[in-house]
C-alpha cells in the first residue's frame, strides 16, 4: 500500500474517535440539527466531484463527473439551508418563550 494511503488510514482512525467524542454529549433536543449538520459536512463530496470532473478526459467521465458535481452541490447547499433554518427556529423559541 502506498505511503499516502497509510497516512490517510492514520487520519481516519483519529478522526473516528474525534467524531465520537465530539458528538457523544449532544442532547436529544439537537438530534435533528446534528444529523442535518453532518449531512451538510459530507457535502465536502463536492470538492471530490470538482477534482473528478476537473481531471476527466473522456466524454463518459465528464458526464459522470458532472453528475457528481450537481449532486454534491445539491447536498452541500440543501444541507446547509435546512440546518440553518432549523437552528434559527431554536434561536427564536428561546427568545420568544417565557421561562418556567
Amino acid at each position: 500500500m502506498a505511503a499516502d494511503l497509510w497516512t490517510a488510514l492514520f487520519i481516519a482512525i483519529l478522526t473516528a474517535f474525534t467524531g465520537y467524542e465530539v458528538i457523544s454529549r449532544v442532547p436529544s433536543l439537537l438530534h435533528t440539527p446534528l444529523m442535518s449538520g453532518s449531512n451538510f459536512i459530507h457535502g465536502i463530496v463536492l470538492v471530490g466531484g470538482i477534482v473528478a470532473l476537473g481531471f476527466a478526459t473522456t466524454d463518459l467521465e465528464r458526464i459522470v463527473g458532472f453528475l457528481a458535481v450537481v449532486m454534491g452541490a445539491m447536498n452541500v447547499t440543501g444541507g446547509y439551508v435546512v440546518t440553518e433554518r432549523i437552528l434559527a427556529m431554536f434561536d427564536r423559541s428561546k427568545k420568544g418563550g417565557p421561562k418556567p
Binding site: A2, L5, A8, I11, A12, T15, F17, G19, Y20, V22, I23, R25, V26, L29, L30, T32, P33, L34, M35, S38, N39, I41, H42, I44, V45, L46, G48, G49, I50, V51, A52, L53, G54, F55, E61, V64, G65, F66, L67, A68, V69, M71, A73, N75, T77, G78, Y80, V81, E84, R85, L87, A88, M89, F90, D91, R92, S93, K94, G96, P100
Partner: protein
C-alpha cells in the same frame, strides 16, 4: 506539493477541517449551534472556491454549470419547503451526497481500473449507491408518494443478498479483469439493492434509517477520499477522508442511539420484518372511554400540571401551532405545561423538538424521556397527541413485540387524555393497553381539529 498555490489550497483545507470539527462541537448546545453551522458554511464555501482555483484542473465550464445547477436546486428547494417536510428533505440531500460519492467512484473506475486504489473506489461506489437509492425510497415514503408501510416481498433476504453478491462480483470483476463494461450492471444492481433494502422498512423506523444512510454517505465520501489521496490534488482526498469519517462516526452513534430508544438493533430494523408478528396472547381488558373536548378542557384547566406527549400524529395533522396556543392558554390559567419527548417519536431523530420549536415553544419546556418519567406519577393530566407505540405499557410485559422498548410512562399519571384519529392500532400492530386503563379517556379526531376544539373550549371557560 510543489507550487505555492498548492500550499494555499492545503492550508485552506486544514482550516476548513478544523472549523468543521468545531462546528459539530457547537451542536452540543442550542446557544452555540447556529454560530457553528454558519462558520462551517463559510469554511465549506472557501474550500470549494480554492478547489476550483487549484492548479491542473480543466473542464471549468462544466464544473461551474454543475455547481450552479445543483447549488440553485438545493438552495431553492431547501428554502421553500415546509418545516413538516424536513425528514424527507434531510433524506433527499443525504441521498444526493451518496450519489455524488458513487459518481466520483465511477469516474475513478472509468479512468483507471488498474490503479492501486480501484478497490477503494469499488467500496465507495457500493456504499454511495446504496445510500442514494435507499434515501430516495425513504424520501418517497416520507413524502407520501409511496405507501409508508413495510412492503415485504417473498424470500426477500435471499433475493437481496443475491443481488448484493452479484453486484459486488461485477465490481470486483471490472477491476480484476479490467472490464469497464461490467461497471453498468455493477452500479445498476447496487441501486436496486438500496431499493430492496429500504422497501420493507415502515414509517416508524425512519429515524434509524435516515440516520444510518447519513452515516453511510459519510463513509462513502471517506472511501472516495482514500481513493483520491494518491491522485492529483491528493489533499482534497485527505479533506474528504476527515469530513467523511467524522460524519460516519457521528452518524453511526446517532443511529445506535435511535435503535436503542426502541430497544432494537440496527440489524433488526433492516432485516427483521417488524409488525409482521401478532401478539396473540395479549387479551386487553376494560373498554375505551370517550370524552368530549369541553370536559377534557375543564380537566386540564383545573390541573396543577399538564404534560403533553406528542407523536407522529401531531406532525401529520400539522397541529403544532394549535398545540402552542393550547399551551399558552393553560399557562395563562396558572397551569404548568411541560412536553414529554420520546427520542423516536416522529420520523427523524429530534423530529418533535423541531416541530415544537417551529411553533415557538421554548425548548426549556421540552423534557426527554428520563427527565419526565420520574415526575409523571404526580402529574394531573397527560395529553397524548397522535402518539401510540411510544406510550404503550405493553412494552413492560414479557412476550409483547414491544417488550423492553423504553416508553413514556404516561399511564402512571392521574388522568390521561388521548387524541387519536380512530380506534386503529399503532405501527407495531398491537393494541395499546394504555387506552383501556381506568385513568384514560379518548378524544377522537384529527390532531389539529381536536386540539382546536380544546382551545375553543378553554377560551369559553
Amino acid at each position: 506539493m510543489t507550487s505555492p498555490l498548492h500550499d494555499v489550497v492545503d492550508a485552506v483545507y486544514v482550516v476548513a477541517i478544523l472549523v468543521f470539527i468545531l462546528g459539530l462541537r457547537a451542536m452540543s448546545s442550542p446557544t452555540t449551534a447556529r454560530q457553528g453551522i454558519v462558520t462551517a458554511g463559510i469554511a465549506m464555501l472557501i474550500a470549494v472556491v480554492v478547489t476550483f482555483l487549484s492548479p491542473g484542473l480543466s473542464n471549468f465550464a462544466w464544473i461551474a454549470l454543475g455547481v450552479a445547477i445543483g447549488g440553485l436546486a438545493g438552495f431553492g428547494w431547501a428554502r421553500v419547503v415546509k418545516m413538516t417536510a424536513m425528514p424527507q428533505m434531510v433524506a433527499v440531500f443525504n441521498g444526493m451526497g451518496g450519489g455524488a460519492a458513487a459518481a466520483i467512484a465511477g469516474v475513478e473506475l472509468l479512468g483507471s481500473l488498474r490503479g492501486a486504489t480501484a478497490d477503494l473506489s469499488v467500496a465507495g461506489a457500493v456504499i454511495g449507491s446504496i445510500s442514494i437509492s435507499g434515501s430516495v425510497i425513504a424520501f418517497l415514503k416520507l413524502q407520501g408518494w409511496m405507501p409508508s408501510k413495510a412492503i415485504v416481498l417473498p424470500a426477500r433476504q435471499v433475493v437481496n443478498f443475491a443481488v448484493l453478491v452479484v453486484a459486488v462480483g461485477f465490481g470486483v470483476g471490472a477491476v480484476g479483469w479490467l472490464r469497464p463494461e461490467y461497471l453498468a450492471p455493477f452500479f445498476g444492481l447496487l441501486v436496486l439493492y438500496g431499493v430492496l433494502l429500504t422497501l420493507p422498512i415502515g414509517g416508524a423506523d425512519m429515524p434509524v434509517v435516515i440516520s444510518l444512510f447519513n452515516a453511510l454517505t459519510g463513509i462513502a465520501v471517506g472511501l472516495d477520499g482514500f481513493a483520491l489521496v494518491s491522485g492529483p490534488l491528493g489533499d482534497a482526498g485527505y479533506a474528504m477522508v476527515i469530513a467523511g469519517v467524522l460524519v460516519g462516526a457521528a452518524g453511526s452513534l446517532l443511529t445506535v442511539l435511535m435503535a436503542r430508544a426502541m430497544n432494537r438493533s440496527v440489524g433488526n430494523v433492516f432485516f427483521g420484518a417488524f409488525g409482521a408478528t401478532e401478539d396473540a396472547g395479549a387479551a386487553v381488558t376494560g373498554s375505551l372511554k370517550p370524552i368530549d373536548a369541553t370536559d377534557a378542557a375543564t380537566l386540564m384547566a383545573y390541573a396543577n400540571e399538564v404534560v403533553i406527549a406528542p407523536g407522529y400524529g401531531m406532525a401529520v395533522a400539522q397541529a403544532q401551532q394549535k398545540v402552542k396556543e393550547l399551551s399558552d392558554l393553560l399557562a395563562a390559567k396558572g397551569v404548568t405545561v411541560k412536553f414529554a419527548i420520546h427520542p423516536v417519536a416522529g420520523r427523524m431523530p429530534g423530529h418533535m423538538n423541531v416541530l415544537l420549536a417551529e411553533a415557538g415553544i421554548s425548548y426549556d419546556k421540552l423534557f426527554d424521556r428520563d427527565e419526565i418519567n420520574a415526575e409523571l406519577p404526580s402529574v394531573d393530566v397527560v395529553l397524548v397527541i397522535g402518539a401510540n407505540d411510544v406510550v404503550n405499557p405493553a412494552a413492560r410485559r414479557k412476550g409483547s413485540p414491544l417488550e423492553g422498548m423504553p416508553i413514556l410512562d404516561v399511564d402512571r399519571a392521574k388522568t390521561v387524555i388521548v387524541i387519536k384519529r380512530g380506534q386503529g392500532k399503532g405501527f407495531a400492530g398491537i393494541e395499546n393497553e394504555l387506552f383501556y386503563g381506568d385513568n384514560c379517556r379518548m378524544l377522537y379526531g384529527d390532531a389539529q381539529a381536536a386540539v382546536g376544539q380544546l382551545v375553543t373550549a378553554l377560551k369559553q371557560s
